[in-house]
Amino acid sequence: MSKKIIEVINLKRDFVVGDETVHALRDVSFSINEGEFVTIMGSSGSGKSTLLNQLGCLDTPSGGDYLLDGISVKKMNKDERAMLRNRKIGFVFQSYNLLPKTTAVENVELPLVYNSTVNSKLRRQKAIAALTAVGLADRLQHKSNQMSGGQQQRVAIARALVNEPVILLADEATGNLDTRTSFEILSLFQELNQKQGRTIIFVTHNPELATFSSRNIVLRDGLVIQDTINPHIASASEMLKKLPKLND
């Protein structure tokens, strides 16, 4: 059996809004092993954003516990969680969140800037390697505003990979992209998962995406209502080939 990267044990998260307490996560338990590609789904209000914040160590649980790579997050303070994110997690956001007027390679270097054990030379090497892995070796010095949405998201993925995280956390990572580019990005995720064994969690409200992952967790009202293994993983690159050619 492969290593448990994520272990969520009876996780609860309550928010106090005025006099009321909102139970965003009521009692969630699951674990994710190394090498899995998990989609987490749910409509808005299902608690998936709250769960993502928990998994991304941006927040601490109200009850239960969350272990990332064997480390309990519950008692950690802000700075400790920042350090943990820096070393263990790679984030990919819906709106890329690249720094404006900044080259691709500098954007990718960013997580390592906050890691004092990596010097500037090694930082540059790792950034170039990460950009090469996402197929942007020829775009190193392009500024973020000189690139298409798909390219920007690739840079963001390279940025998420550069610190060699134990988990890639994607938040609606294809939400801003057209169909073709979405499949390109999805096939990149699949490639990272299948060829490099990266563990990926993909949070989305789009049910179609479940067919490309190895496992699908569905949330509703702060509870896991479905957790299924996908035996027939569709290939995003195959889908891409079936799309009609664009005359551009």
Partner: protein
């Protein structure tokens, strides 16, 4: 695994890049600081320059110099003008000579004014009857010939030393005045020396329009008086000037047999007093100008604070991103603080250069004396950095206290 180490070098690069991305805005923000610092430097340079020029002018009259003049007094129930009082006697001079501790030179002075005549030339001037020590007290030197001696004083010799202006007025065809006989109030006197030119004093008086003669000569042969108009002295050093003044007062009170309740019938003035009197106006002006300049620096600081707040709000998502990929609060705080300090210090450097440039320009164009002190430059610099830290702190704190979850999704 928690590493408290903050990589300042990296944060510095981040701050530099942010400024580079917004050059024009950065420059506009700096402008407040630039104008503030430049005006502080210029104002202080002008203020200090005028103060120093007054000081050097006064010191040219002898910075340790003190003099005693008769005070106002009553004569038969009529209040008299101080200059007509006859309270300074040879006995006072003798008392000062024998009893002082803090004085290095003492000279009485008897003044007379009138027309001086040589050949067909004549000119109005004043004659000061002094002793040879007067040269030291008043910082005169002999350019040509000799000073009269104590022997000349004993014999009330009809000899004199003339200033440059007197020479120019009387010896129009360039002959050597030494050895020539001039007449002052119909008394013939032989010139034995010429004083080195000193120029005008701070009150605009020509210090070279003077004839020095033995005081006994002026007393007996010209004015026919036995008192002195003034007694000049110099303190041993500038620092004992105040003690010397007190000493003179004590000696003269004793010599004048004044009771404890009596007011002084004389006045002791020191050059130090004169300096502080003359410079008090320029000191006040300096403080005023510096205050105005400091206000503009404050306004510049508020400008920085304003722009930093805007910048933090604009870059909320960037802050959220940085936090989610591992930046701690302190990293964000320092990033924005460094940015604010960079703006203020760069503005400070430009301001210092501009201030020095403006001062030099004022000096060249308007001919005003300037004096740029290193400490004002350093001070402006420190004030700039402090302004940056002070006004950058709150925006930076705001940035550092953002919640990454909210910040990353901020629209």
């Amino acid at each position: 695994m928690i590493n408290r180490y903050v990589n300042i070098g990296n944060l510095f690069k981040i701050a530099l890049r942010a400024l580079n991305n917004n050059k024009f805005r950065g420059f506009l923000t700096m402008l407040g600081i630039i104008i503030g610092v430049a005006s502080v430097i210029t104002m202080l340079a002008i203020g200090q320059g005028s103060k120093r020029s007054i000081q050097t002018q006064i010191s040219s009259m002898g910075s340790n110099m003190l003099f005693v003049e008769p005070g106002q007094g009553m004569m038969g129930g009529v209040r008299q003008d101080a200059s007509s009082m006859q309270t300074l006697k040879p006995a006072d001079y003798q008392a000062l000579l024998t009893q002082n501790e803090y004085l290095s030179d003492i000279s009485p002075m008897v003044s007379a004014s009138g027309q001086v005549i040589y050949g067909t030339n004549n000119s109005p001037t004043s004659m000061s009857g002094v002793n040879p020590n007067y040269l030291n007290i008043s910082k005169y030197t002999i350019a040509d010939g000799d000073m009269f001696t104590d022997k000349d004083i004993k014999s009330s010799a009809k000899v004199c030393v003339i200033g440059k202006t007197v020479q120019t007025n009387l010896f129009t065809n360039g002959e050597d005045p030494v050895g020539k006989i001039i007449r002052f109030k119909s008394i013939p006197m032989r010139i034995i020396g010429v004083l080195t030119a000193k120029g005008n004093n701070s009150m605009g008086q020509d210090q070279d329009d003077v004839i020095l003669a033995p005081y006994t000569t002026v007393q007996k042969r010209i004015s026919a008086i036995t008192y002195f108009n003034r007694i000049f002295a110099s303190a041993r050093t500038e620092s004992v000037s105040d003690s010397a003044k007190t000493e003179i007062e004590a000696i003269l009170r004793k010599s004048h047999k004044l009771a404890d309740t009596d007011d002084n019938d004389f006045r002791v003035r020191s050059q130090q007093e004169l300096i502080s009197m003359m410079t008090s106006t320029s000191d006040m002006m300096t403080v005023l100008l510096a205050a105005i300049a400091a206000i503009s620096l404050l306004v510049g600081g508020i400008g920085i604070m304003n722009i930093m707040y805007v910048s933090v709000t604009e870059r909320t998502r960037e802050i959220g991103l940085r936090m989610s990929i591992g930046a701690r609060g302190v990293d964000i705080l320092l990033q924005f603080l460094i940015e604010a300090v960079l703006i203020s210090v760069t503005g400070g450097i430009i301001g210092v250069l501009l201030g020095i440039g403006t001062s030099l320009l004022v000096n060249t164009l308007a001919g005003w004396p300037i004096y740029i002190q290193i400490y004002t430059v350093l001070l402006s610099f420190i004030v700039c950095s402090v302004t940056g830290i002070f006004f950058g702190w709150y925006p930076a704190r705001k940035a550092a206290s953002l919640d990454p979850i909210d910040a990353i999704r901020y629209e």
